[in-house]
């Protein structure tokens, strides 16, 4: 018995600690106990990572981390009791890589979604790798082993203690190699390494063991995935290489944006990255720039401050009703929101009823309908003059438009929905509710309901 828990079988013995199955209290889910290795001769690192994991795990909520149930006093008997996640390690998939693009995208989107949930709560994982990701039977990803994590609400116990880079050599970002901790885009880099490995079966930077080997990723590009695995589609290479940009500012600004692209491959804006078949030269310039910058580890912005530079905005445009005044009002509000933020992504969506079978090929009718509405969406967004990577277009087919918009917002981590107000003369709207009011009630984010001037 430890801390009121009955200790069962040993599940795993790792470098930093040992895991046991435990029982005794019944929180409604299976439990495990993590005991750090603190004996003589063991590194002090184990104590620090134990304390960090306790603090960070204790502060996090939601399905993407194991729930913390109890912790022992580090001075007496340190242990963490947490949810024993029923799921399979992502390592099982990476061991079978290369995998088909669709599967890579599905797994990657699940990991990106979990990362975004952490970042939204001010935490950065900083030790993301396949063995630290579990996939629940539902497909949801759970991130484990938060001993190297950082949380903007709490002092970083590791930053000053460990002068060498910490983390797993194949996966850590260039800025982590330089000792900078706390940037959510470091996790985006590690996600890029995971995607690369899943898509090609190889590690983009190998598994270096020396400091010089680690530093290579500061100035040396990985071999493009398509050069190793020609079946990798250009959109996937685009996503992977953008995650792996050595300069954090050139990467995706948030994990939510990576998830978005992995869920909508047809909307990925292809750049030179997509077609690259050999390494880029000239990255030495970046290294020189980093040297000139003095390599002084400047504190990165708080995770949510970084995320707030890159929100996803959903404009719900009722293309079935050609209300020009409404379109204009929506465009004005969207353009105001876009002006505030540097890397806002705009998703333009409309909902159409599933095409009825009118004789002929239903498939053909549906496709024609989709194209017609895509054209209308593009026409609506034209005056906003957004570059290709910042805007995407979606025709959703559903009988219930409000449910379709809410669902879209949830799946795509939308931060803000902008939708037109119902026309003032709509009958029974007080009784039946309207699409915008339903969206406002049920969406997982901010909703703006836009009314044209003099429209009331």
């Amino acid at each position: 018995m430890v801390g009121g828990f009955r200790v069962g079988e040993r599940l795993h013995a790792g470098g930093m600690g040992v895991l046991y199955a435990v029982s005794g209290r019944d929180p409604g889910f299976p439990l495990l106990m993590k005991v750090p290795r603190l004996g003589p001769g063991e590194p002090g690192e184990a104590v620090l990572t134990y304390e960090m994991e306790q603090t960070v795990l204790g502060a996090l909520r939601g399905p993407h981390v194991p729930r913390l149930v109890a912790a022992g006093d580090v001075a007496e008997q340190p242990y963490l009791v947490m949810e024993r996640v029923e799921g399979r390690s992502l390592k099982e998939w990476s061991d079978r890589a290369p995998l088909p693009a669709a599967e890579v995208a599905r797994l990657g989107a699940a990991v990106a979604t979990a990362l975004h949930a952490l970042h939204e709560q001010e935490a950065v994982h900083l030790d993301l790798k396949p063995s630290n990701v579990l996939l629940r039977p539902t497909g949801q990803a759970v991130l484990i082993d938060l001993g190297l994590a950082a949380h903007a609400h709490y002092p970083d116990l590791l930053a000053e203690e460990l002068r060498r880079p910490i983390g797993s050599a194949p996966f850590i970002s260039p800025e982590q190699v330089l000792g900078i901790r706390g940037d959510p885009r470091s996790d985006v880099f590690a996600l890029g390494v995971i995607l690369y490995e899943l898509a090609t079966g190889q590690l983009p930077f190998g598994a270096p063991t020396s400091p010089a080997g680690l530093r290579k990723r500061l100035f040396r590009d990985p071999v493009p995935p398509r050069a190793l695995q020609p079946t990798v589609p250009p959109w996937l290479q685009e996503v992977v290489l953008r995650c792996l940009e050595p300069d954090a500012r050139a990467r995706y600004a948030s994990a939510a944006q990576v998830a978005f692209d992995l869920v909508h491959p047809d909307q990925v804006a292809l750049t030179e990255r997509a077609g690259r078949l050999r390494r880029r030269a000239g990255l030495r310039e970046l290294l020189r720039w980093l040297r000139a910058a003095g390599l002084e580890p400047t504190p990165p912005p708080r995770p949510t401050a970084q995320l707030s530079t890159a929100p996803i905005l959903l404009a719900a445009i009722a293309t079935s009703h050609g209300n020009e005044a409404q379109f204009e009002a929506l465009r004005e509000v969207v353009s105001r929101l876009l002006a505030q933020r540097g890397e806002t992504r705009l998703a333009c969506a409309t909902v159409v009823r599933p095409a009825p079978e009118l004789g002929g090929s239903a498939e053909e009718a549906a496709s024609e309908q989709r194209i017609k509405h895509l054209v209308l969406l593009r026409h609506w967004a034209g005056p906003l003059r957004l570059p290709p990577g910042r805007v995407s277009f979606h025709v959703l087919e559903a009988a219930d438009p409000a449910a379709a918009i809410v669902d879209y917002a949830r799946v795509n981590h939308v931060d803000h929905v902008v939708i037109g107000a119902p026309p003032p003369d709509l009958p029974f709207k007080g009784l039946l509710g309207t699409i915008p009011t339903k969206v406002a009630l049920e969406a997982p984010c901010t909703v703006s309901i836009v009314r044209p001037r003099g429209g009331r």
Binding site: A152, H153, Y154, P155, A159, E160, E161
Partner: protein, 247 residues
């Protein structure tokens, strides 16, 4: 036991009262005042009466550089604005208030916590603990688990590392930070009466000894009224602007 920590009150009664009532609502049972009770602001006697009342009920009080200057009149190390405010205070302060200031120690110790206005390394030298080096020096001067100080007017939390360095952390208001006694901590609790980090709201910290957590708080108060009082008292206008902008 929850201990409210206030520093750099600077004769700003409304700000101090706002912190004290916030602390009471959050369960504070004891108080420590970390110096610079007076100077800059227009209400020295009012603030000192309030602090002396707490001291009579067991609160810890240590003196700061402005308090010392008001007692001995020596302002040669101060800038012109600070010196002018000290002169103003010396003309206005009651004998009762002056005697209270004259009796303040520079350092106080209770259990594993040390209380000082500036650096514990040289309390009378009024060193600003505003970087990791100064924090490490102040930590090295005692064996206290927790060192609480003020003087800098910007809240910060440092912890001693195994290499005897100090790591810096900028606290987020309202978050209870674990400060377990297995390492040593130094907190600059921020300024109640004259914040200088760009946020004009009064700042103080609440130490929960049982849970070993420290929470920094920002408490909005009527800054416009405080600014008007500074101007009405004929104190330098720069001091009014400082309150208004919090820097």
């Amino acid at each position: 036991m929850k201990l409210a920590l206030l520093a750099d009150l600077h004769s700003n009664l409304a700000a101090v009262e706002a912190c004290l009532s916030h602390a009471e609502a959050h369960g504070a049972e004891a108080h420590a005042f970390l110096g610079d009770l007076v100077g800059y602001g227009p209400e020295p006697d009012e603030v000192l009466d309030l602090v002396a009342g707490h001291a009579a009920r067991g609160a810890l009080v240590v003196g700061g550089n402005h308090d010392a200057a008001v007692v001995d009149g020596r302002t040669e190390t101060m800038d012109r604005t600070a010196a002018a405010a000290v002169e103003w205070t010396r003309r206005r302060i009651s004998e009762r208030g002056r005697r209270f200031l004259a009796g303040l120690p520079l350092v106080a110790r209770r259990d594993d916590a040390l209380f000082v206005h500036a650096s514990a390394a040289h309390p009378r030298a009024w060193i600003y603990v505003s970087d990791q080096l100064r924090a490490a020096e102040s930590l090295a001067a005692s064996d206290a688990t927790w060192v609480f100080c003020g003087h800098v007017h910007v809240p910060a939390l440092y912890h001693a590392t195994t290499a005897r360095h100090a790591a810096h952390f900028a606290p987020v208001p309202g978050i209870a930070i674990p400060v377990a006694p297995r390492r040593r901590w130094l907190a600059v609790v921020g300024s109640a009466g004259q914040p200088r980090d760009g946020d004009p709201a009064a700042c103080y910290a609440l130490f929960d000894a049982a849970a070993a957590t420290l929470t920094f708080y920002r408490v909005p108060y009527d800054v416009r009224a405080a600014v008007a009082k500074v101007r009405a008292a004929g104190l330098p206008d720069r001091l009014a602007l400082r309150l208004e902008h919090g820097k």
